[in-house]
């Protein structure tokens, strides 16, 4: 085994306003090894890689980075690339309407005095494609090849920069099993050539297959680094989630009634790739007064499921049935879904939830204008009263209901989104990441609102990537992975280990 250390990150601490994303993190990568980093969403993996690659420049964090024996002060991604550190992000950074060759040399054009030497480009690209084992014409447009091949183009691009340390952020998240295997084999191949890799992944089976060592992050801290022979799934899972639930959740005595909401055999295809199934036959149900969680990792298909149920707002070739109080309903447009009593509060409030240039009052009433109007004419006073009422009920902190929502904090924006859907008087609320990016105090308030709604007899479906949150507020939890439900458990019996196990072992099979 080669024991020479190529990269050492020591005591890295990175703070964002209000949050410590990384706290005294240490990472040690040896030359020519595959080093995996695992951890829950929000554990700080991507932040750590951004610190390493200079996306967060030297000075915006504390701690030291030693690379090939020298201390490095990267000011930007260019500096780290010059040293041979190349990062491939989860969202591929390829230009769809340029060719493979053009993408490989993007920003690194083979040119003399600004004139591109196309022969050199094609020759170089062809050689790199051969290295990564991609049999495509370098002139093929990116948009015409699949995601798996695009991933290989990204790697070829990295190789063109004479990479010594390759960082892959969830490279197999959107790949099929075959493509994933090919990619992992490529990493092993690189290892033989002396290129070290850092692999960020949720898929513990893959990690177990190729990684020499594993570093586990949790809540922005390094928990431990395990050697290959120590790697067992149970060990990793315990390290990943090992924390106790504190008193962060309001208590509630659930009063659960009959089933009010059911989705059966729900199938959705990708909006662009019609033959790719994103949701592969999901069945769920919610009872009156019940808070039901959907756990899963990013990319499991939870948001896609919720949005497709809510007026076919995602995907194409959507099929399946929705029942409300045992009766089949047509929720094929958002208007119909709302009219039947469904509400969906988005995970991305800025893009999908709010009109950020308008004030609180108009945002609260927009999903139910009929409720403040007679024959299409808005009753100003009724609207103002309602807006003030919801502002008080959900405890929106603002100077008045005339404050522009774009200027509110994340927690208060979320309360405006919740108010909007409360005013539409739904029977079933789907809350997608209701506490993402909001502080602990606001989270507690959101949980309180959820509890109150459940007590009023509504059915609530909560999608969250934060497992403690689901364990703290849900009566029942579904586990979703790769477009399927892979587990279901009562809230009282659920634990983070159980959920994690369902995800990493389910691999798409219902357990």
């Amino acid at each position: 085994m080669m024991e020479k250390t190529i990269l050492e990150m020591r005591g890295i601490t990175k703070t964002f306003p209000g949050v410590k994303a990384l706290q005294d993190v240490n990472l040690n990568v040896r030359a020519g090894e595959i080093h995996a980093i695992v951890g829950e969403n929000g554990a700080g993996k991507s932040t750590l890689m951004k610190v390493l690659s200079g996306v967060y420049p030297h000075g915006s964090y504390t701690g030291e980075i030693h690379y090939e024996g020298q201390e490095c002060h990267f000011k930007g991604i260019h500096d780290s690339e010059r040293q041979g550190i190349v990062i491939i992000h989860q969202e591929l950074a390829l230009v769809p309407l340029l060719s493979i060759a053009e993408n490989i040399y993007l920003g690194n054009e083979q040119a003399h005095y600004g004139v591109i030497d196309w022969n050199a480009v094609r020759r170089g690209a062809a050689a790199l494609l051969a290295k990564v084992g991609l049999k495509e014409d370098p002139d093929t447009l990116i948009t015409n090849i699949g995601v798996g091949k695009q991933q290989l183009v990204e790697i070829a691009k990295a190789l063109s920069k004479e990479v010594k340390l390759l960082i892959l952020d969830e490279p197999t998240a959107s790949l099929s099993e075959k493509d994933s295997d090919a990619l992992l084999n490529l990493l092993v191949e690189f290892k033989k050539q002396g290129i070290a890799s850092i692999l960020i992944s949720h898929k513990l089976n893959e990690v177990g297959k190729v990684a020499d060592r594993i570093t586990i992050l949790r809540d922005g801290r390094t928990i431990e680094t395990l050697d290959r022979h120590d790697i067992s799934e149970d060990r990793i899972i315990t390290s990943m989630v090992g924390r106790t639930l504190e008193d962060r959740f309001p208590t509630r005595m659930p009063k659960i009634g009959e089933t009010i909401f059911e989705v059966k055999n729900w199938v959705v295809h990708h909006p662009l790739h019609a033959d790719r199934q994103v949701i592969k036959g999901v069945d769920i149900s919610v009872r009156k007064g019940e808070v039901v969680g959907i756990a899963g990792l990013m990319g499991a298909g939870r948001t896609e499921f919720a949005m497709s149920v809510f007026g076919k707002s995602y995907g194409q070739r959507v099929s399946g049935e929705i029942f409300l109080h045992g009766k089949k309903i047509d929720a094929s447009t958002v208007g119909r879904a709302v009219a039947h009593g469904l509400a969906y509060a988005t995970e991305d409030r800025k893009t999908f939830g709010l009109n950020l240039i308008d004030h609180i009052k108009h945002n609260i009433t927009i999903a139910n204008l009929k409720g403040v109007a007679n024959n299409g004419v808005i009753d100003d006073m009724r609207e103002l009263n309602i807006a003030n009422d919801y502002r008080k009920r959900t405890n929106i902190r603002s100077s008045s209901v005339y404050q522009t929502t774009g200027n509110l904090s994340g927690g208060n924006q979320q309360k405006v989104v919740l108010s909007k859907w409360l005013f539409s008087d739904p029977e079933v609320l789907i809350l997608d990441e209701p506490t993402r990016g909001i502080d602990v105090g606001a989270k507690y308030e959101v949980y309180t609102i959820i509890n109150k709604l459940a007590d009023e007899g509504k059915g609530i479906l909560v999608i969250s990537s934060e497992m403690p949150e689901l364990l703290g507020i849900c009566d029942r939890i579904y586990v979703m992975n790769e477009g399927r439900i892979v587990g279901e458990m009562a809230g009282s019996e659920a634990s983070q280990e159980k959920i994690m196990r369902a995800i990493v072992r389910g691999e798409g099979k219902a357990s």
Binding site: V334, Y344, N355, D358, S400
Partner: protein, 418 residues
């Protein structure tokens, strides 16, 4: 707890009062700019600008721009643009000419057909924009060329006219003085005992009466909404601000009415325009339709996820725009008393400029009917004033362009500061 809610309520009231003042200041800024421009030209033209005949002309000259600006406001707030309105209005004028002059169709029937044609044109462009997601800039650029060409083809490259007198009334007519003239100052007689031209002040009394009624209605409605707010326990704007605001607006309206009355009374076009402006203020401020257009322009994805049928809404907005462009085309044709292939040339630029000067955002979601109307008048007064001063058409364009840029820069600067 109770003390906290009290202070909250107080803070609320204070904030909303401040908000009202701030909102108003922004609106008044535009009005003040218009007044300043008018005073400037009044001075530069040696008092010609404010002559009753010139004020009446100002209304007649700008009516079609203002009418199209109402529709353009909706289009721009919805997050789109319509470059075809000039060509469409010219084309509809040509259709009207062919129907009335060549086919001897009744003017009223012609008007109805032309409005329908405008709606149809709006629908045909709106379909591509709303349902096929073709950028409005491209669709209406194509429409601009298509309808410019079609009106040339329809008129055979020639002017067609004149129109029946009944149709001319649309632009050239004034409301009848049913009460009879009111002589305020007797004419002075010259040595021969004949009255000196222009020495008498004779007022159109029906116009005066309408003006007084309008002012009374305005005052009554603002008093009522104030009372309504207070009865619900909300702090209205400070009473002095309320009084000053209403007094100034009433004075301006009465002044304009007086000027109109001392010429030939209210032009028919002004009545049409006034009704449309009131209607569009109502649509944008009070109706769910208007609210949805603003929500869509502010964030189309959020609007769609709130159950708004964004495609249909866009489609309707373009139909409305098409009908207003048709009406403007009729008024313009009636004013010239002939349909020419050049009618409508470049109108879209004045219309779009008016809406942006009036504070609308090119990103959509922001804009006001009153702003667009005042913006149109700012452009109109500058056209009129510079023409009287004898400024060459080339320099007029330069100055108008700079005013447009200045107005928008000022707006963006203010927004960034806030």
């Amino acid at each position: 707890m109770s003390t906290e809610t009290l202070t909250n309520a107080e803070r609320n009231a204070k904030a909303s009062a401040q908000m009202a003042l701030k909102d108003n200041l922004r609106d008044y800024g535009l009005v003040l700019a218009l007044i300043a421009i008018m005073v400037f030209f009044q001075w530069q033209t040696n008092g010609v600008l404010f002559k009753p005949v010139n004020l009446t002309n100002l209304v007649l000259q700008n009516s079609y721009i203002i009418i199209m600006a109402l529709g353009m406001l909706l289009v721009i707030v919805a997050g789109h643009i319509d470059l075809s309105v000039g060509s469409v209005s010219g084309f509809v004028g040509a259709v009207a000419a062919v129907l009335m002059v060549q086919y001897k169709l009744d003017p009223i029937l012609t008007t109805l057909i032309c409005l329908a044609v405008g709606g149809l044109i709006g629908a045909s462009q709106g379909y591509w924009i709303a349902y096929m997601k073709i950028p409005s800039f491209i669709v209406t650029l194509a429409g601009m060329l298509v309808f410019k060409g079609l009106s040339l083809a329809l008129l055979g490259g020639m002017s067609v006219g004149p129109f029946p007198p009944a149709f001319q009334l649309l632009s050239a007519g004034f409301i009848p003085d049913v009460i009879g003239p009111l002589t305020l100052v007797q004419p002075t007689l010259d040595a021969a005992g004949k009255p000196v031209a222009g020495s008498a002040v004779v007022l159109h009394s029906t116009t005066l009466l309408i003006g007084v009624v309008i002012v009374a209605l305005m005052l009554w409605s603002s008093l009522r909404s104030r009372a309504n707010r207070e009865s619900h326990g909300y702090e209205a704007e400070p009473f002095t601000l309320f009084v000053v605001k209403n007094a100034v607006i009433s004075a301006i309206v009465l002044f304009l009415i007086y000027m109109m009355a001392s010429y030939r009374g209210l032009p028919n076009v002004l009545i049409v325009m006034g009704v449309l402006i009131a209607l569009f203020v109502f649509i944008t401020k009070r109706m769910t339709f208007g609210r949805r257009v603003f929500a869509m322009g502010g964030n189309v994805k959020a609007a769609a996820l709130s159950g708004i049928k964004t495609e249909r809404l866009t489609f309707y907005v373009f139909i409305i725009m098409g009908m207003l462009a048709a009406l403007a085309g009729l008024i313009f044709a009636a004013r010239l008393n002939t349909a020419t292939p050049k009618a409508g040339l470049g109108f879209e630029l004045d219309v779009i400029a008016a809406v942006f000067i009036g504070g609308a955002s090119a990103m959509g979601g922001v804009g006001q009917v009153a702003g667009a109307v005042i913006g149109a008048f700012i452009m109109g007064v500058m056209n009129n004033g510079m023409s009287i001063m004898g400024v060459n058409i080339d320099w007029q364009q330069v100055i108008k362009g700079l005013v447009l840029l200045g107005a928008v820069v000022f707006d963006v600067y203010n927004k960034n500061k806030a």
